[in-house]
Point group: C2
């Protein structure tokens, strides 16, 4: 039996990504975003949605660039902090003891301490209402050498954070459930 | 030290959602999608991206509706199956032993056996290249009574599947890492 909970922003999993930008003064800034996802394979694109009053919104509109930084579970408090405080009043890189690295591909900084980084150039802007969705073309993906295994990024070494809306808690990645395009063949 | 892996569809976490539609003959169909995410809080919207040759693409274009069905980890092989086989040649609901329930809000079916369901009306269609992104307004969210706790959907009871691109494995949800808008306050 299903319960109707109404038109809520509830889906699982949602990410807890750090969006990296330079503000008008050139200060590197971070914002936590859970509203986003991959949206195209060719060109490789990813969406992230921000509210207009956010400090990062103006930054993306100005420079048409952002990075997606996937933090490890050990940094979950830092990820939460970046969603609580505004870059208008704080230096979040300094507060988190994070190192801002200037991307050579897009006009935005990324977080040296995050094991997975996407460098994105804005190619489409969609005003949807409370949020504006930025479609970014992914110019490159960078992965910590220590999080690579057999030439591929290893999810358990990256150890990403999952956000659960409504419940409002963060979760880690769980057990390996099997190989895609493989374990379903038994049902054919 | 970071390794560049190029412009890849790699982000974490990504979902492994079952997209529910009715095809031209009115047959309920399912397709697995990992390219999607929440994109707006008001109106509540979610994106899902499909390639044009997909059977579900024509269905969504025709009926301007779809459901997002979040399956539990126990059904991971069924989720994988729905990404391998085309609805052109198979009755995936039957193969998965899933029950198709006609939504009363949108022209699409949802999966009775999935603990979390979003009923979506297409409000924007963006052709991005290999994929077309459908922005759906979420008309209602339905949750299994058994997956509710203290009046809210409980992520650990829903037990959703996380997909990891590149690595191509599915993962479960891990440990609770803490409360959002709370654990980051210590850094202020």
């Amino acid at each position: 039996m299903k319960v109707s909970i109404g038109s809520k922003t509830m889906a699982l999993p949602t990410p807890a990504w750090l969006v990296g930008t330079y503000d008008a003064e050139g200060k590197p800034n971070l914002m936590t975003a859970a509203w986003g996802g991959i949206c195209c394979s060719k060109p490789v694109c990813v969406t992230v949605s921000l509210q207009k009053p956010r400090h990062s919104y103006a930054a993306i509109m100005e420079r048409k660039a952002y990075t997606i930084n996937v933090a490890s579970a050990k940094d979950v408090a830092k990820v939460d902090y970046c969603g609580i405080v505004s870059g208008k009043n704080a230096d979040k890189f300094a507060a988190c003891n994070f190192t801002a690295v200037k991307s050579e591909l897009v006009d935005a900084p990324y977080v040296a301490e995050c094991p997975l980084v996407l460098e994105c150039k804005v190619i489409r802007i969609e005003d949807l209402g409370m949020h504006t969705m930025f479609v970014g073309e992914v110019m490159d993906v960078k992965v910590d050498e220590a999080a690579m295994k057999d030439g591929k990024p290893d999810p358990l070494l990256i150890d990403p954070i999952v956000y659960a809306p409504e419940d409002r808690h963060y979760y880690g990645l769980g057990a390996n459930l099997g190989l895609g395009f493989s374990i379903g063949k038994e049902l054919k």
